[in-house]
């Protein structure tokens, strides 16, 4: 069913956990449909230096969460915003068709974390400005 890469990320998920002093946090999904991902990012000089996640969900949800945290690390905010859900699925050597919604989840959670970061930035700028 799952590719080896999915199983690898599911079995040994990278970057599980929280970032207490995160610069951005995003949550996507809901318990009703069975998938929730929460993603923390740490940003330095416009570049994501750390990313962590917690996920309630199926194997694909956990693997995409793990994969996206790997993908964003080291990327600039602009670059990170380009990461699409298909890119996540591709990085995992594909997902079963019924699981494609899980890769949406990861990309959307990332987007929300970035939005949160940008909003905070703006707030900070406004406060400063």
């Amino acid at each position: 069913m799952y590719s080896e890469k999915v199983m690898d990320h599911f079995t040994n998920p990278r970057n599980v956990g929280e970032i207490p002093d995160a610069d951005g946090v995003g949550v996507e999904g809901n318990a009703v449909c069975g998938d929730i991902m929460k993603l923390w990012i740490k940003v330095e000089d416009g570049r994501i230096v750390d990313a962590r996640f917690k996920t309630f969900g199926c194997g694909a949800a956990i693997a995409t969460s793990s994969m996206i945290t790997e993908l964003v690390k080291g990327k600039t905010i602009e670059e990170a915003m380009q990461i699409s859900n298909t890119a996540v699925a591709e990085a995992l050597d594909g997902l079963p068709p019924v699981k494609m919604h899980c890769s949406n989840l990861a990309a959307d959670a990332l987007r929300k974390a970035i939005d949160d970061y940008l909003a905070k930035q703006k707030g900070a700028e406004e406060n400063n400005g």
Partner: protein, 393 residues
Amino acid sequence: MKRIYLDHASTTPLRPEVLEAMLPFLKEQHGNPSSIYGEGREARKALDRARDRIATILGASPREIIFTSGGSEADNLAIKGAAFALKDRGNHIITSAIEHHAVYNTCRYLEKHGFRITVLPVDSYGLVDPAAVAAALTPETILVSIMHANNEIGTIQPIAEISKILKERKILFHTDAVQTVGHIPVNVQELGVDLLSLSAHKFYGPKGVGALYVRRGVRLDPLIHGGAQEHNRRAGTENVAGIVGMAEALVLAALEMDKEIERQRELRDRLISGIMERIPHTRLNGHPEERLPGNVNVCFEFIEGESLLLNLDMQGIAASSGSACTSGSLEPSHVLLALGLPHEIAHGSLRMTLGRGTSAADIDTVLEVLPGIVDRLRQMSPLYDADAFCKTH
């Protein structure tokens, strides 16, 4: 690694004795039972014998047994067959909220053909209330379909009680006994049903073969039209080897039933209480006593079923879940939702169903392995964190 198979409600391994009984019909005995020459007559004899054996065990007569390609076909034949045959008498069908999809989706399909379906709720143990059946009856009611025991949570329904109500009103009663035949006593007279479905692969017989009991005098439109097989009630060259295997499996199951019920019940209860002791935030789904001897179904809060299954699989344990993600839909099991469980809890269900090969050592292994897996997944879960945005109650 030795695998521990705890998904007997999904399918069971074929018993070697059953394969042995089938082999002649997969080798030299290849005749078509409809043929009049020697090879055909041998096949016919084997079919007749299988039919006799199955009928005897169910308390039926041989003419009342129709062979099918499995439980789903039997359910479809019973429900569509009765509905279409009786549509001049009424268009109302009653079923329950926890039926297998083979019943549930069939009823839903009949709505497109002008039938009205009442779906009865169940209580928190998954029990249908016989009084609710009585209350739902209308002059238009032609059929009631309530399963004997549920495939997910193992709850056994008060079929005999319900049938008493329906007999008085002369309303056809179908029960999906796919999970009970071969596991607990099933006698069509004692249950008082008119139609009863069974499937061989659930009791160590082959996949792709089943049967429908049809009480004498009950009219059914065939589901598969064609040749005159099964007294014109189910066309198609018979799966002789499969049918012979089904009968053999059923006889073997009947012989060891008492012993196995006792044995599995003990293991089941040991597994349930072991889980409850070791893992907090866990609930048992289904009825504590009115329950299939081999069924364990629990919900672990804060985690999702599929990832649990995959972890168990990596530890050599095969189990199942009512998780949406194992079915390809977004909704978790309609059965768990019908019990009143909130979605997020229903997603975290684990079904382990025991069988002939399950040993006490297997149960101990599961009890060793499971708490660690649950804990690891909970550590990863945003719901488990006390500060999470959406702690479940």
